[in-house]
């Protein structure tokens, strides 16, 4: 059997460069001074262009990058911990919990980004905890199946809760805010948001990157993982809390962004190999590229903004269907 055609290290480097390229292009794409973009030279003379790029586009770009990387890392981590390639951050009550928290914050606690993040994180982790507790009490099926079932129940509970909050929200001010937030988008983010979310996202990204080899162990059956020295409960808990905290915090900014956490880990595994040693950094880079690309489409395609969640779902679902039908996407031929 031949060596893999592509050295994973060079592959990661190449994607890092693609990410930088996409970001550099995205900075100049937009509806100023005319539709679809500005010449880079304009940045030197036009103070409005400078303010636009520095105060609006740059923070938004960075948040999109964090969003994509975090969702992808979270998806990949959960898929490996739960030994199920169809798991994503929306699973286990995390996203719906965070959505409920954000709606609570909009209704009663105010729109301050830090407060929204903390409530979303609190309810996101709460969703995870409730799912876990319920799964322990279920008397049906294996551990993974019980988690899935409990996750479905808790998610439904929280989305019903969001429905109640929408019903009692002020239809002129609060309701539109909740609705747009639920559709998912980054139109209002600025530097303040970026700096508030950065520590949360960094916690999840750095923890999962550092523990990526352990993540491989956790994807084995319990006996095998234990025999290789894994502390199953502790390591699972550390990874899940770190990555869920990051996801809930960034979800409080962006709203629910579907499909990134499901589809990107699949592509990363196909291209960089299954081992999280390579596939986790690959998922972070690809997630960043995908989300920055989608967000650029969201803000430039039409004069009015398209919610980011709609674009990621549209492209994500199409890519997922394509991926499931094709077998020729592998770089590692055999």
């Amino acid at each position: 059997m031949p060596e893999p055609h592509t050295d994973p290290k060079r592959l990661l480097l190449a994607w890092g460069l693609v990410l930088l390229g996409v970001m550099a292009i995205a900075i100049f794409v937009g509806r100023y001074p005319k539709p679809y973009g500005m010449a880079p030279a304009l940045l030197l003379e036009d103070t409005l262009a400078q303010r636009l790029v520095l105060n609006l586009r740059l923070p938004r770009l960075l948040v999109a990058l964090l969003l994509g990387s975090t969702l992808s890392a979270c998806g990949l981590t959960m898929q490996m911990i739960f030994r199920n390639p169809l798991v994503e951050p929306g699973f286990l009550g995390v996203s719906q919990g965070a959505a409920f928290g954000a709606a609570v914050s909009i209704l009663w606690l105010g729109r301050h980004p830090l407060i929204m993040e903390l409530t979303a994180t609190f309810f996101g982790l709460g969703g995870l905890a409730l799912t876990y507790l319920l799964a322990r009490r279920l008397r049906y099926g294996g551990w993974v199946l019980r988690l899935v079932l409990a996750g479905i129940a808790i998610s439904a509970l929280f989305s019903a809760g969001v429905g109640v909050l929408k019903y009692i929200a002020d239809p002129l001010t609060q309701l539109p805010e909740i609705t747009f937030w639920l559709l998912g988008g980054l139109w209002s983010v600025g530097w303040e948001d970026f700096f508030y979310v950065l520590p949360f996202a960094a916690l999840g990204l750095v923890t999962s990157l550092l523990m990526r080899w352990r993540l491989n162990l956790l994807s084995l059956n319990d006996a095998a993982a234990f025999s290789l020295g894994a502390s199953l409960t502790r390591e699972r808990l550390i990874l899940l809390v770190a990555i869920v905290t990051a996801t809930a915090a960034i979800t409080s900014l962006s709203g629910i962004i579907g499909w990134v956490g499901l589809i990107i880990p699949h592509i990363a595994r196909r291209l960089a190999g299954v081992s999280a040693h390579r596939s986790l950094p690959a998922a972070m880079l690809l997630g960043g590229i995908f989300t920055v690309f989608c967000d650029t489409l969201a803000r430039t395609l039409f004069p009015g903004e398209i919610p980011l969640g709609i674009i990621t779902s549209l492209l994500g679902a199409l890519m997922f269907a394509y991926l499931m039908m094709s077998t020729g996407m592998k770089l590692r031929k055999h």
Partner: protein, 277 residues
């Protein structure tokens, strides 16, 4: 098949001149309302020998193996590893002393063979470390020795049952442990693959590795086991050499069907006498 494993003996961790494993009055059950699946088991497993744990399905063989490993905590009694209580070792130390080849199970992710085998080096990596050059060297050497190099980049999910079991064995070998536990290593394998696995185990035993494996097939045990534990309903019924243990009366009793034992040129062969009771 010849294996040239150069094990780095870690005499600082354990002294293998001691009895490898001592079980003292071990009892275990999964829930308080259940019966004990391992019931008052006391025994000594000698170093550098092959011990087979034999018994019908549900006798408690796998549970006993998981108790030795430390995955299950016994309700009473304790396990001594080379004379020292199991709990006095850290988890990392145990994973450098004992390796496990668990029963074949489905793998949801198609790791390549090399990635899978590299996981066996985890006991020697710090929590945030990824495999180093030396780990790749050891993994590749073991793959060479087990004649698996040609499969190095193949996804594990595309392997045959025999190849997959060999890969799991390779993963346990790169762990470089003094004690190797195997749970039903030959189940689901055809005769050719059974023979290959058993010959590797015999070679490892000759190199001083202590081997403990479970099986429900007496004929697998007769090939390589120095001693046999007969288990039934959580208890050790017999413990001795193959010649002593495999008698028609004892085997018929634990399998609950008439069993015929043939002895030819010092080999013991076990078969059903007729169908049913």
């Amino acid at each position: 098949m010849i294996i040239y494993l150069e094990l780095t003996y870690r005499n600082d961790l354990i002294n293998m001149n001691h009895t490898a494993l001592t079980l003292e009055n071990i009892r275990f059950r999964y829930a308080p309302e259940d019966n004990y699946v391992v019931d008052a088991v006391s025994l000594e497993i000698p170093s550098r020998k092959v011990t087979a744990i034999l018994g019908p399905n549900g006798a408690g063989k796998t549970s006993l193996l998981h108790i030795i490993l430390g995955l299950l905590q016994p309700h009473t009694g304790q396990v001594l590893v080379a004379g020292k209580p199991h709990r006095d070792y850290s988890k990392r130390e145990i994973s450098q002393i004992m390796g496990l080849v668990s029963q074949i199970d489905t793998i949801p992710f198609n790791f390549s063979v090399l990635e899978c085998v590299l996981l066996g080096r985890s006991p020697y990596l710090d929590p945030f470390q990824t495999p180093r050059g030396i780990d790749f060297q050891i993994a590749n050497r073991v793959l060479d020795e087990l004649d698996l190099s040609h499969l190095r980049y193949k996804p594990v999910t595309e392997l045959s049952g025999g190849e997959r079991q060999m890969v799991h064995l390779a993963r346990a070998l790169v762990q470089e442990t003094e004690i190797l536990l195997l749970d039903e290593p030959t189940t689901h394998l055809d005769l050719g693959n059974q023979s290959r696995i058993l010959s590797v185990l015999r070679e490892l035993s000759a190199r001083g590795i202590t081997i403990v494996f479970t099986t429900h097939d007496p004929n697998v045990a007769t090939f390589i086991a120095d001693s046999v534990l007969l288990m039934d309903k959580g208890r050790i019924v017999e413990h001795g050499s193959v010649q002593e243990t495999f008698t028609e009366a004892k085997l018929s009793a634990i399998y609950n069907v008439p069993i015929q034992v043939e002895r030819q040129n010092g080999r013991v062969m076990v078969m059903m006498r007729k169908l049913g009771n």
